[in-house]
Structures are given as C-alpha cells and as structure tokens.
C-alpha cells in the first residue's frame, strides 16, 4: 500500500453549521448562525420513524439520505435533493437477494450506516445494515445493490454471529470508510465481527484485528473476528493512514501500513476506563481525538461512569487524555451517547457535538473546553452529522 498523505486543508468559511439529528422517533436539522451561538430547528422529519443515520452528500452540498424504519414497517431510505425541503423514498432500498424456497434467507432489519463513496464517484453511496450487510447505490440512493464480497462471503458469514450475538438492537455493519486517496481502499467495522479492509473496492476483504482485545475470562480465540466488537472506527482526514477506534474492549489507534492496533485507552484514568461508543477525530490534527466513556463494569450499564458525564480528549495520539466536562452536570446524570451520536464540525476552533439517549443535544465551540446544551426534549438520539451551510 503506497499512498500519499492527503493535503491539509484550511478550516472552511461558511454561513453556519448544520447538525443533522437522527433519533428513535424522527429526524431534525439544527442550523446555526456563523458564530454557532444561535440555532434554528427544522423538523421533525419522518415523525415516528426510527432514523438511524441521516447524512449530507458533501460532494454536492444538498443531497441528504436518511435511513429509516419503524417498529412495525420494513426499512427504507429517504432521499432529498433540496436539503430536506422535500423527500422521496428509494425505489429499491437495501435488501438481501431472495434465496430458494426452503432456505433460510436473511432480511434487512434496518440500514444503520450511510457513507458517500469517493469524491470521484458522484452519486455513489455505501450502506451498512443490520444484520450485517454492505450495499452500494450508484444513483444517489434511489436503488441499492448488495455487495457479494461481504454479503455472500462464506468465510465472513460465521463472523456475523447470530441475532443473539449482536447488539440488543441487532448486529450491525458500520464505520464504512473510503480512503480519500484511493476509491478502492475501504474499511468497515462489524458489531460483532471485527474490522475489515479491502483494496479492491469491496470485492475481497482482510480482517484487521491484530492487537484488538476481547472480553476476558471466556477463553475466546483472539484471532477469530467473531469475538471482536469495534464500536466506531474513524479515519483522520489530515492523515488517512491513521485510524482511531472505540471498541467494546478499549480505545485503539493504528498507523498504516502497520497491521496491529495499539490500545491507547490504557492511558485513560482507571476510574473511568476506556469503554464507550463514539470516536471523533480532529479535522486537521491527526494527534487529536475525542471519546465519550461509558460504564463497562458489572452488568455494563453503558451510562456515564459514576453518573458524571464527560468527554475525554487526547492531543498526542493517545499518550495522555484530559477530561472535558465544563458545563455538564456534576452528578446524577446517567447518559449514554451512542456510536454515531458524536461528531465535529470543520471550523477553527473545532465545534464538537453529541446527543444523548435522553434527547439532549450538546455542543462545544472550543474543542471541548466548555459545553452547553442547545436542545432538550428530543427523542432518544441515535446519530449526529455536521455540515457547513
């Protein structure tokens, strides 16, 4: 793998920031003024639908895709080409191929993750589903085709596990990453099932799990991807050879072409630990990333440790971590922030955003030094994305 580093880009100047909020009961768009101090809300969109992910196509700046389902109806993808003023449903949402009668075929429960393909592939998108599947659209999300390199991969199939092995809301394929230098170079994560890399645009995949730990005490084979549960993997925009990962078993970093992850979460305070869901990387500094730890002790409450929510930041690639909780409740706040529900904008200083399971939307204008709640009383927040508007 010989790849040049991506050129560092200056922070953009734009009118404001939009935060795309996906929740268990619909989607909202929060738009700021240029100072990011005043916010206007637009929504709800798809009220009553579970929206797992709503993403703006940065290649055209106006196309939104939203992965939606309800507790009762099957999953679909909604598409807007006017930044949410109007929506149209996908003509052919992600679906596994129909199997012969008598065979037990899989069906998509919901689309969990959406990623635009490479900048040189306009209108092309990837989708990750629950149960684990990888799909591609070449027409802006109108029709979707299954990618057999994953969905029909008999080697990979046992790593998917069963419904019982997955997260309570179903096993998922997530963290679909496209290398900005090479459209053939892809990564994704599976909960469970490990991290995987492709160098041929998804035709073949290789596990990338060396160095990742598994839950102790059960004698699991650490070399088997089935036992690995990456929660969120992010690539550094300023250095696509560097990936950070928040895993069920710690926080990791890898610098390609190395093939071994390093557990940088060992440097987190022991009283907090290094379990969590989201991972956020700095848009211009490969040494800076943020996590939102949760309680992984006992029966795994998955809430803020000790009821004291906090973001933790590293400025040196994971050697040391600092707590960032100014503005957050000091006690009795039992939040969970899910893997897609924390993100950054690309301003200078970087704005950080997270949404919690209590329906609160929080932000920091100064890279985590101070936090404020900009919206309350939303439904359980599943995902956030930002966009310059």
């Amino acid at each position: 793998m010989t790849m040049k580093k991506a050129a560092k880009k200056a922070a953009p100047r734009s009118k404001g920031v939009a935060v795309l909020v996906s929740t268990r009961k619909g989607a909202w768009i929060y738009a700021s003024d240029s100072s990011r101090r005043k916010w206007a809300v637009n929504g709800p969109h798809f009220l009553g639908h579970t929206v797992h992910h709503m993403v703006l196509d940065l290649r055209d700046g106006k196309t939104l895709l939203a992965a939606a389902s309800t507790g009762h109806l099957g999953p679909t993808i909604f598409r807007s080409t006017d930044f949410g003023k109007s929506w149209k449903e996908a003509r052919k949402p992600p679906a596994f191929p129909k199997v012969s009668e008598g065979e037990n075929g899989r069906s998509v429960k919901h689309t969990f993750w959406l990623t635009p393909c490479h900048a040189n592939e306009p209108d092309a998108w990837y989708a990750g589903t629950s149960p684990q599947g990888l799909f591609r659209s070449n027409d802006g999300g109108v029709t979707w085709e299954p990618l057999p390199g994953v969905n029909d991969n008999t080697t990979m199939r046992p790593w998917f596990g069963t419904e019982q092995d997955g997260t309570p809301d179903g096993p998922k394929l997530h963290s679909i990453i496209v290398d900005p230098r090479d459209r053939n170079h892809l990564y994704f994560g599976m909960s469970g099932g490990g991290v995987h890399e492709s160098l041929d645009q998804g035709k073949t995949w290789t596990p990338l799990i060396d160095g990742m730990e598994v839950v102790e005490g059960f004698g699991f084979d650490i070399a088997n991807p089935m036992f690995h549960d990456p929660h969120c993997v992010r690539m550094c925009p300023s250095n696509p050879d560097r990936l950070y990962q928040q895993n069920h078993c710690g926080i990791y970093r890898i610098d390609r072409p190395a093939k071994k992850w390093t557990r940088i979460g060992r440097a987190m305070p022991k009283s907090v630990g290094d379990v969590g869901f989201p991972m956020v990387v700095h848009p211009r500094d490969e040494n800076t990333c943020w996590v939102f730890p949760m309680d992984g002790s006992g029966v795994w409450p998955r809430t803020s440790p000790d009821g004291k929510p906090a973001v933790f930041v590293t400025r040196n690639g994971g050697k040391t971590w600092q707590r960032q909780d100014k503005g957050m409740p000091r006690e009795q706040a039992w939040w969970t922030v899910k893997r897609q529900a924390m993100c950054a904008d690309s301003r200078d200083p970087v704005g950080l955003y997270f949404g919690n399971t209590q329906g609160e939307l929080w932000m920091s204008r100064d890279e985590g030094k101070k936090w404020e709640c900009i919206a309350r009383n939303l439904p359980h927040i599943y995902a956030l994305e930002t966009a310059e508007i």
Binding site: L73, T76, E89, K98, S107
Partner: protein
C-alpha cells in the same frame, strides 16, 4: 377486491380502502406495489415473509402464505399489530 390499509401505510395510498387485483395474495401485493411504489417492502421482506407485527387477513382469517388463492370478492385487511413504545 377491497383492501383495508393500516394507518402507517396510508402515506402511500392516501386512503384507507383501496382496490387491488390478483389471483393470489402475492399477486395482490404486487398490484399494490404497482399502484403505490414502496408499499410492499414495508410489509413483506426480501424473502417473501410477512414482516413481524404485520398481519394480513383474508375474509377475517389470518394468512401468512403469499400463495393463498384469492377471489375477486374477497376482503383483505392489512393490520399492524400495536406494540412498542
């Protein structure tokens, strides 16, 4: 034949009662899809299974097989089980 549509799917049909054709339940659902694109996949998965919480009644009897023969005067009710929160 007359087909009663549950409220979560009225966004597709714009009305509760619609007309559809077909000699089997599967054909009737394909006719609904032809008239109201997208509606079938919300009820029937890619393996032709009726989705959990969706129920289809033919003349008051619950039916799961898309091969079930239908007559033009049959009454179809598509019902969404009430669950969740």
């Amino acid at each position: 034949m007359q087909v009663l549509i549950p409220s979560p799917l009225v966004s597709y049909t714009r009305r509760k009662n619609v007309e559809a054709r077909g000699s089997t339940l599967g054909e009737m659902l394909l006719d609904l899809e032809r008239q109201f694109p997208g509606i079938r996949f919300r009820m029937i998965d890619e393996q032709d299974r009726v989705r959990p919480h969706m129920r289809i009644f033919v003349n008051g009897e619950q039916e799961f097989s898309l091969k079930r023969p239908l007559n033009p005067d049959d009454e179809i009710s598509i019902v969404q089980a009430l669950s969740g929160g």
